[in-house]
Symmetry: C2
Subunit: 200 residues, 2 copies
DNA sequence: CCACATTTGTAGCGAGCACTACAATATGGA
DNA sequence: TCCATATTGTAGTGCTCGCTACAAATGTGG
């Protein structure tokens, strides 16, 4: 049996380029021409490999979260809720202003509101953002069980709060805030969690 | 001198309808067809009255901020920095989940990232968001002068923080969070400002 | 070397986009 | 009444969008 002509591009490398385009221009703002140009391939290759623009976005999102997984694990492994929050928010301040990537977070920049033709994209992104909140919630629940968070603390509310701050920082980063400005925001936010921590 | 055929629609009413479309679908996601449909007019009337899609957005943004001006004044007139923050964030929680409007904030939903053709829209929105931050900063500076905020407090950082929380809440609202969930976030955030307040 | 399977580049599809030309219509002033 | 001015509705304009038909190219198995 014949195997066929081999692909001349690396799927993951192309996906990284596509991720950057979506990140910078949003889902709707990114055109197939920009994507194929950045990926170094032609439209038929894109569609053969990924299926559609929306499927390409999902593949890019998968890669995006996979790239951050190791970092997230490290953050969540911090000993206390306060330390988790601090690492998280300070790390976010750095990552969202890293010149190696477009500013902000792909899960926000991708698109909060879309035209009628791609109304499910915002849902997709929201669902992925919710995953981070849930990870934080689990971690804070554990912290409460361990007596690290005060008995009156609400892990779900705290996780939602930290998640909201992250999103706010992301938007600020996308509109030009530098790392220092974000770090100031993070510092204020960390204190909120500190307040609900059991002092040692 | 002749005056011409009178306009059959009310400019501000039409602007309100346009605002809602931009709010719900974002600048790029909103089509002229949707806008004219919602406004109850035809494209030539739209272009005669507003000039272009982007100019229509700016007019809608002007109206948006004008609508909130009275509320902002009331918020900023609160006696203390803590009270300002509380009124602000609790009010935001309500307003961003008010079923009379699309969820979230137009200044965020309008578009964080756009295609190359409308790259200045995100800047326009960011500039308008920055105005709120600046108003807060001025208010917090006054609070510091009045001895209401601790002498070590940084009004600019606090304003940036509150602004970030508002933006985060806005994104959460746009992805379905209800008023109660936002109020929980607001409550945690208010404490951060409380921490830097001089206890009475 | 041939047959097959798959990818590649070119070129272009129909649809929808922001925007407008144009003629009909409706007012106020001379 | 008739002109000047402005808005209205119809019907498009050229353009770009996401996506694809098709044939040439490039590999493997027999």
């Amino acid at each position: 049996m014949a195997i066929g002509r081999p692909r001349t591009f690396d799927r993951d490398t192309a996906l990284d380029q596509a991720m950057e385009v979506f990140w910078r221009h949003g889902y709707e703002g990114a055109t197939i021409a920009q994507l194929t140009d950045a990926m170094g391939i032609n439209p038929p290759s894109l569609y053969a490999a990924f299926g559609s623009k929306e499927a390409l976005l999902r593949a890019a999102l998968d890669r995006y979260t996979a790239r951050r997984e190791a970092w997230m694990d490290e953050v969540l492994s911090a000993p206390t809720a306060r330390e988790v929050t601090s690492r998280m928010l300070m790390g976010v301040a750095e990552k969202q202003t890293d010149p190696a990537n477009p500013p902000g977070c792909l899960l926000v920049q991708g698109g909060l509101a879309c035209g009628s033709g791609s109304a499910n994209v915002p849902f997709e992104l929201a669902a992925r953002r919710a995953q981070t909140e849930e990870q934080l919630r689990h971690r804070f629940e554990r912290a409460k069980d361990e007596g690290d968070l005060a008995s009156g603390a609400d892990p779900a509310a705290l996780a939602r709060y930290v998640s909201a701050v992250i999103t706010g920082m992301s938007v600020m980063a996308s509109s030009g805030a530098d790392c220092e400005a974000l770090a100031q925001v993070a510092a204020v936010a960390v204190k909120s969690v500190e307040d609900q921590s059991v002092r040692a």
